[in-house]
Amino acid sequence: MIQLDKINKYYKTGAETLRVLNDITLNIEQGDYISIMGPSGSGKSTLLNMLGLLDVFDTGSYRLEGVQTEVLDEEQRARIRGENIGFIFQSFQLIDRLTAAENVELPLILDEQSPKERKQKVAHVLAQVGLSDRATHRPGQMSGGQLQRVAIARAIVMQPQLILADEPTGNLDQKSGKEIVALLEELNRKGLTVVVVTHDLALGKRAKRRCVMVDGELSETPMGDDTAYESIVMGF
């Protein structure tokens, strides 16, 4: 589904050039559930932005569903983001003036779907995340866990193949965090590919594939050796 080959990304800060992604090579198959852990500033979020076509890299190659992404223009990248990728952010990124249902409806509006179709799909995904009774509530009237569930509903309403979650439990209490983890796992069981960037060891451990990122370099840790994984991650 995703083939990253020697991806490099540089940031210029004055006279200094910072290499934030260092020869990243990664293959992700349909239905994978990958966690990426690493210290702050290691390049996790930058990598996630590359995967979500929100940012561009300087060198390397990125194929998504067989499409060479570096040759796409902004219009094409926007269309792929809307149709194939669902985003979940640490700070939820919900629009305050809109209700939960209206927030979830946004990708469908941008995709110019009919109001009737939109209504059905929104009701369906809100039920899926257990928020049917909160459809008319605005973000200010909901708890952190509920807000993240609205964000997940918005991420899946277009039925994308890929879910990219950036610290999805970062702003949640333990109980809400567990609910979100369970929800992501359920989505993965239904066949969605999930890539999670997290500081949450519990979340990171539950992924099918575990990656660690340090100073822009990505490495995958073997499954089954929780102790080794924990020792690496705890060292951050």
Binding site: L54, E75, A78, R81, F87, Q90, L106, I109, L110, E112
Partner: protein
Amino acid sequence: MMLPDVLRFSTQVLLRNTWRSVALMVCVAIGVSAVILLTGLGEGARQYVRNEFNALGTNLLVIFPGKRETAGAGPPIYGTTPRDLTIEDAQHLQRISGVDYVAPIIAGNAAVSHGALSREVVTIGSTDTFIQTRDMVLSMGKNLPETSAERAEPVCVLGMTLYRELFGNENPIGRIITVEDYRYRVIGVLAQRGESLGLDLRDVLLVPVRSAEMLFDTPALFRILVQLNPTHAKTDEQQNQVVERIYASIKERHHGEEDITIVTQKSMLDSFNSILTTLTMVIGFLAGISLLVAGILIMNLSLISVQRRRAEIGLLKALGASIRTVQIMILSETLLLIFIASIIGLGLAHALLLTLKLFFPYLPLEAPFWINALALLVALSVGTLFSILPARKAGSVPPAEVLRG
């Protein structure tokens, strides 16, 4: 993004920022209403002048003594008059083909009194044809005698105001009034008329032109009004032929000197029309500057708004909004605001015009459709122009950067 969704989204944004939206709407509404109101006033003035000219009578020529000359500096002036225009000149013109009526005029101010009441009014010496050339009617009594150009009969016709002031509701017909040192018998009263190019026709005294000669002690005519025949002098060409015949006639009578100036009603109307149209355009343009100022204000506030909504814009882009979609959304917010404000401005301007009409009923204060359409178009164009920069800024928001954290 479909149009109803764009409008819904824009409405939500405008409602969310109520005070900002209201402040911008007030600016635009004032600008639009200023354009309509001022151009409406200009149009009203133009229409007023047109009506005044029509009140002078159709197919009217005015003959002035003296030849219009071009001066070295300053506006054109009327040259000195080697020969006065006389009543005989006017009588001669009556024979010209294409001429219906000729009204010689001697005019001046005279003190008119009846009993203890006295009033200084414009006194016009003319003939019975005067009221035809000025498109006037009598409310009582009769017109000046047909022999006004031959005999200085001591008779007069009163304007309505003069009649009311001197006689109240009494019947003035047959009564004697004093004009300066002469006694005149009232034979008629003019019907109510408004002002005509600054002359209040309700407050005039009409006397035979020969009587005016004696009254003002001058044989020289102030001017001659010539009413052309509507059938024989219908076209511009036919009118020009009559004008040429008048020039020729006067030239012959004045020993080869072409010492008069003939102004047609159409040329006067065209001149005023041109001046007032230019004036209307100028004041409309000046009012339009307020729209320009509103546009700059909109641009600044939109830029601030885009800056504050970077995360939201970044989110929309992450959810699949293209740069164009984001730009359309920002543009539509401004255009929706301007459209609503323009409608308010249109309503405000028309309400003010209606109010002004109550105070000045004789002024045709109306903003034609094209002015309304133009004001709306200018407002929307200004809005579009000044939204380009904020829209471009919004389109260039980097989603990865603004969605961090």
